[in-house]
């Protein structure tokens, strides 16, 4: 009943090559991401998908190639800078702060937005407390959005896998990112959990207009969710385009669909 329209390019990946010592992980990868789209990166295990995300948010530094984000071509950037530029992400194997509750994990996601200094926080009065409350409210909205009210105060270590994934998504959302990188958000989930997660991804993209880059194995999911898909295989870029087009691509069928699912 309504048309998806893609904005202009926010992220441009140009001829990225990355290797650890002798091992070539990414080989001359180029694609772009448009404002407000859901962009998928697919490929068999070891295709270099996660490495691609790590390059995008500055954990790994590619030997060749350039990344242009919001018109600015980035030079060697520190890991924490990605967040400042509005890039948030989740991880393939959950990287939550085990010692903290759901609430605190998500609160931590807002660290960049908190302005009060250490002394104010030590006294926990005035600005510091105001901020705590104001951000708590924002976090509660996220908790509400992800429907995890029931686990609000539970230490994340005690949560089932699917829930942990949700909390991690919550932590990423807390930063109110423009660009959200999701590394296999549905890996190892049962059907309902997957459906929920899909709903959340769509709603995030829809409600907040967040641009999403997503790695996923489940072809069905990818085809339903994404506007455009990049296919990687052993560091090489096999295809790039709308789902149905990619689905028809022979190279992809051989390399990927042929192999798994």
């Amino acid at each position: 009943m309504y048309e998806r329209k893609l904005g202009d390019v926010v992220l441009q990946v140009d001829g990225i090559s990355l290797s650890f010592g002798a091992m070539r992980v990414l080989n001359n990868i180029s694609f772009n991401v448009r404002q407000g789209e859901i962009r998928s990166i697919i490929g068999p295990n070891g295709a270099g998908k996660s490495s691609m995300l790590n390059v995008i948010n500055g954990v790994y530094h590619p030997q060749q190639g350039a990344i242009t984000y919001r018109g600015k071509t980035r030079d060697l950037m520190k890991v924490h800078e990605a967040a400042q530029q509005g890039i948030a992400r989740t991880f393939q194997n959950i990287a939550l702060f085990k010692g903290m509750s759901t609430l605190d994990n998500i609160m931590t996601g807002r660290n960049l937005k908190i302005k009060s200094n250490m002394l104010q926080q030590a006294i926990y009065w005035g600005k510091a407390q105001r901020e705590e409350i104001e951000h708590r409210r924002k976090v509660e909205e996220i908790i509400d959005f992800l429907e995890i009210q029931a686990i609000r105060k539970i230490p994340v270590g005690k949560l089932p896998y699917g829930m942990q994934k949700r909390v991690e998504l919550g932590r990423a959302l807390a930063a109110e990112p423009d660009l959200l990188l999701l590394d296999e958000p549905m890996a190892g989930m049962n059907v309902e959990e997957k459906e929920d997660m899909c709903r959340f991804v769509l709603d995030i993209n829809d409600e907040f207009g967040t641009t999403i880059v997503l790695i996923e194995h489940d072809m069905g999911v990818v085809m339903d969710l994404s506007d455009r898909v990049v296919v990687l295989d052993y560091g090489l870029q096999l295809a790039d385009g709308p789902p149905d087009e990619v689905r028809r691509n022979q190279a992809v069928i051989d390399a990927y669909l042929g192999v798994s699912n």
Binding site: M1, Y2, Q149, A150, D203
Partner: protein, 658 residues
């Protein structure tokens, strides 16, 4: 009997005879007092009576601006949310009639009600409900306006008739500016004999009927309830039962509006138990199954406790069973017992009540269907004042209530204030009360069938007054039959008694126009399965387990207990169970043996298993049977078994039939 401290309310009861008037009154008598809470965004957001009034005012004006007029119906669909309760009030302030619907019913079911009630306006909770209405709407555009609370997911819905409550209220505030005094004038115009609300009862057969209730029905009954139980404006209740159900409307809306106490809405279905504990209501209402589930949870959790703890727990629960209820009813117990109970209260009862969130309860009701005596006694022995209540939508709930100190598991108490109850010749219970409904919407003949000229209502239940003057409900009147010797035969009553045993899942009693009562029993696979495992006797599946002689012994005990029970009952003593069998297959809705709401379809079963019934009334000890069954995947197959039949022990009646 203490008078409601809300003197103002009782004194000028005459003037305060509608919700709009009550609301205005609360706003100036206790404008600062919390009227409603909702757990939202992690904390209990609160509305004072003044704030409620403001919200309602804005919404009412908004509705008016959208063209909602006196007499219009307003469909209300969603979980218990303050804004939905306020919507009710808003509609009523305009002389309109709220029609709450069951939020989990599917579009098709809703369609009927919406159409039958000529609904043009709807206020719903979220996208889920909106989508249903849209589905219903295309085709007929009867529903002129839909307002929703939670905008999530509807960013791209643009329909002229779809709007958020917020928007409507914004509109309303402007409208209010433009037409000062409109709201008051509208609100005051509403009067006691106007229609307050329409509640649809899901009849066991046919389409639901819209029960029309006037303000006098609702408010006088609510006030009587308050007066009888001495409720105050300081009660806390948790609103978690469907808004479309008369009980919720009485306890979470009407009585709150009359007494001015606080209604709390849980955060979500998943958090009800935690929310219950956080709020710790002082006034609580739940159908038996809720209490039942709670009890099962308790038992399951205790299973995993350490040995010592379990010992302690069971010891003190046994003690409580002995003395708890007596103490609660203010009967005499020995000093030692009292002391032990105090200790138990510190070690078990207190903590248990607290963990369940029932610690502050002053009054708890159960109604809707019969509650198992063990369950009932469990809670009372913990010192929770839970009482049975007998009521109907048609009578705005209250018909009979158990008075403090006279609480028995098997009766529903004495008539409530201003309620007259009588039993007609064929044992059906009739009542007359201020709560008696106005009519069934748009079906005078149905109304005439249930309600006599002089205001008596047929409950459709068979029952009688026990010696202690308490009403005892036996069964649905239409099910009650007679044995050949003329003894009253109440199948459901017997079936329920059997089902109170955790081992028995379903029971089917035969006896109408027969010489005695015989029954089919369906064992509860889980309960009996555990029982079997603990005695490590192996079984391959239901059929196998059901046939085990040990299981028969187990069921025999239950049946005998029921007979013993029946023998105490003057009317039913002669309808003791003669013979029984454990059915070789689970009764199943897919096979048409149960209704979708899991009620047994006796007649159907009777013919389906005719050979078995025959066998029951002959003197054979075993009978071979083959039955068609539907499997999960829809295939059908044959299930054959040799079903054993046993004699039940008979007890000599203790009381003379009166």
């Amino acid at each position: 009997m203490s008078l409601s401290p809300d003197r103002k309310a009782t004194v000028n009861a005459e003037q305060l005879n509608t919700f709009p008037k009550l609301l205005l009154n609360h706003a100036n008598v206790r404008g600062r007092k919390i009227a409603m809470r909702e757990k939202d965004l992690g904390i209990w957001q609160a509305w004072t009576w003044q704030q409620i009034l403001d919200e309602v005012r804005a919404l009412a004006c908004g509705l008016a601006a959208l063209g909602f007029k006196a007499g219009d119906k307003l469909a209300i669909i969603g979980d218990n949310r303050p804004c939905l309760y306020m919507s009710m009030a808003a509609a009523q302030c305009l002389g309109g009639v709220p029609v709450p619907l069951y939020q989990d019913s599917v579009a098709k079911e809703m369609a009927f009600v919406l159409d039958n009630a000529d609904v043009h306006f709807a206020i719903v909770e979220d996208q889920e409900q909106v989508d249903k209405l849209l589905e219903i709407r295309d085709g007929n555009d009867a529903i002129g306006h839909i307002l929703y609370d939670d905008p999530r997911g509807m960013r791209h819905y643009d329909f002229p008739f779809l709007d958020s409550i917020e928007q409507a209220q914004k509109l309303g505030r402007e409208f209010d500016q433009a037409n000062p005094g409109f709201f008051e004038q509208q609100a005051k115009a509403v009067d006691g004999d106007d229609i307050a609300i329409m509640l649809y009862t899901s009849g066991t057969t046919g389409n639901p009927k819209g029960v029309v209730l006037t303000y006098d029905n609702v408010i006088i009954t609510a006030r009587n309830g308050i007066v009888r139980e001495g409720l105050t404006e300081n009660e806390e209740v948790l609103a978690y039962l469907p808004m479309a159900w008369v009980g919720d409307n009485l306890f979470s809306y009407a009585q709150s509006f009359v007494a001015g106490f606080t209604v709390n809405c849980p955060e979500s279905g998943a958090t009800i138990l935690t929310d219950l504990r956080e709020i710790g209501p002082t006034y609580y209402f739940a159908p038996p199954r809720v209490y039942e589930n709670m009890l099962t949870q308790v038992m399951i959790r205790m299973e995993d406790a350490s040995r010592i703890k379990q010992r302690m727990f069971h010891y003190f629960m046994a003690l409580a069973k002995r003395v708890g209820t007596r103490i609660l009813d203010g009967k005499a117990v020995t000093f030692a017992e009292k002391l032990l109970y105090k200790l138990g209260n510190f070690l078990v009862y207190g903590p248990l009540r607290d963990v369940l969130g029932l610690n502050r309860i002053r009054l708890a009701y159960t109604a809707g269907e019969a509650i198992g005596p063990e369950i009932f006694d469990f809670y009372r022995s913990l010192g929770i004042n839970i009482k049975q209540l007998y009521g109907q939508t048609e009578g705005m709930v209250f018909i009979c209530v158990q008075p403090d100190g006279e609480v028995y598991a098997d009766t529903v108490g004495t008539p409530a204030i201003d309620v007259e109850v009588k039993i007609d010749d064929n044992g059906e219970v009739l009542y007359r009360s201020p709560g008696v409904f106005h009519s069934y919407y748009k079906s005078p003949e149905a109304t005439a069938k249930t309600k006599t000229e002089d205001g008596w209502v047929y409950t459709g239940d068979a029952g009688y007054f026990a010696e202690n003057g308490h009403l005892k409900i036996i069964d649905r009147a239409k099910d009650v039959g007679k044995l050949l010797d003329g003894t009253m035969f109440a199948p459901k009553y017997i079936e329920n008694k059997l089902k109170f045993f955790s081992f028995i899942k379903e029971a089917v009693a035969f006896g109408d126009r027969r010489e005695n009562t015989c029954i089919f029993v369906n064992i509860d696979l889980e309960a009996v399965g555990n029982w079997a495992e603990r005695r490590n006797l192996g079984y391959s599946g239901y059929v196998d387990l059901a046939a085990q002689p040990e299981v028969y012994d187990l069921i025999q005990e239950c049946v005998d207990k029921v007979n013993e029970d029946l023998s105490r009952d003057p009317l039913l003593a002669k309808s003791q169970i003669k013979r029984f069998l454990v059915l070789h297959k689970e009764l199943d809705a897919d096979d048409g043996e149960l209704t979708r709401t899991r009620k047994v379809r006796r007649s159907f079963i009777e013919e389906r298993y005719a050979p078995l019934v025959e066998a029951l009334y002959s003197d054979v000890a075993e009978c071979h049977i083959e039955t068609e069954v539907k499997f999960e995947d829809g295939r059908t197959g044959k299930l054959a078994a040799d079903v054993k039949i046993r004699e039940a022990r008979q007890f000599t009646p203790v009381a003379k039939a009166s």
